[in-house]
């Protein structure tokens, strides 16, 4: 079902690209490590740069990252939408949970729901879980990596509609993430598959 039909031609070229992608990922990780090292010291000096290069190399050699390859493309406008909507949701939901917390005598009801994601790459699963988890009111309980299913604990459920709303919200976050960082094939899959999986939970 995850048909890689577009990449079957020229296997050596594909492997070459795979190796290049691995090197690129390592390079990106290395750059971040050097930057973080400098930020930790609080200033950019040649000594800190050298220290960062050494520490970054040691970290990458002795604690290699699992190969989460970034197969998509960064789309600045969609990324902006993702961040802006996330901030709005964060503020609204924080105020809501804070109000529930201080409302005297109110005991919230909760629910655990399963939300199957449509794009099952590790990166998408991790990003969606992170963002969903950062927004108050939803908590990730369990992740089924093979099936691409997130199990969420939802705070303050009052009617069945709330469950459907939360499912739709998670899928909407997934859609925004894929639009921002996903590959063209993933965007096409989301657009051509009009939410049929969420109807049969």
């Amino acid at each position: 079902m995850t048909g890689g039909s577009g990449r079957t031609s020229g296997r050596p070229a594909g492997r070459l690209r795979g190796r290049a992608a691995t090197w690129r990922d390592q390079g990106v990780a290395f750059g971040w490590l050097v930057l973080i090292w400098n930020l930790l010291w609080g200033q950019f000096t040649w000594g800190n740069l050298l220290g960062g290069v050494l520490v970054g190399a040691v970290v990458l050699v002795f604690f290699p990252l699992p190969p989460v390859t970034f197969g998509g493309r960064l789309r600045p406008r969609a990324l902006l939408v993702l961040v802006a909507r996330f901030v709005v949701e964060l503020v609204v939901a924080s105020v809501r949970v804070a109000r529930i917390a201080v409302q005297p005598g109110f005991q919230p009801r909760s629910a655990i729901i399963a939300v199957p994601l449509r794009v099952r790459t590790d990166l998408n699963l991790a990003l969606t879980a992170e963002l969903v988890s950062l927004v108050p009111g939803t908590l990730i309980l369990e992740v089924d990596r093979e099936a691409g299913v997130l199990y969420l604990h939802v705070l303050d459920v009052r009617r069945p509609q709330d469950l459907a709303d939360n499912r739709a919200r998670v899928l909407e976050i997934e859609r925004r993430i894929v639009r921002a960082v996903g590959s063209a094939a993933e965007v096409r899959r989301l657009d051509s598959e009009p939410d049929e999986r969420e109807k049969k939970p």
Binding site: A101, S110, L134, L139, E142, D144
Partner: protein, 110 residues
């Protein structure tokens, strides 16, 4: 003049962040079981910590401190969900979840 505005904005951020942290503390005390408490403990926290950091950044305004504040924010955002998930998952697996508080439990049939 810009310094005064930044000071006041920073003060507003600090106060609202502290209020969110207070609400989180009250929630931890009041909520009935582990999962509900995790909501209170990790969630208003996210925005609360970000507001506090923004407040601190607006008051300090030196590049070295701004870098450190940005690092704290990034690591806070990256690690809080992981910690919350580990605690929630072990609570669920250990059976520390009160089923009478749940309307639906779709994890139970798995």
């Amino acid at each position: 003049m810009p310094a005064t505005v930044a000071d006041w904005l920073g003060a507003a951020c600090l106060v609202s962040g502290a209020l969110l942290a207070l609400a989180a503390a009250i929630g931890v005390l009041r909520f009935p079981d582990v999962l509900d408490r995790m909501h209170a403990a990790t969630k208003p926290q996210t925005l609360g910590v970000l507001l506090l950091l923004a407040g601190v950044a607006l008051r300090l305004r030196t590049p070295a401190d701004l870098g450190m504040v940005a690092l704290v924010a990034v690591f806070q955002l990256a690690t809080a969900p992981v910690a919350a998930q580990m605690i929630a998952r072990s609570a669920y697996r250990a059976g520390r979840v009160d089923p009478t508080l749940l309307d639906v439990d779709e994890l139970a049939d798995r």
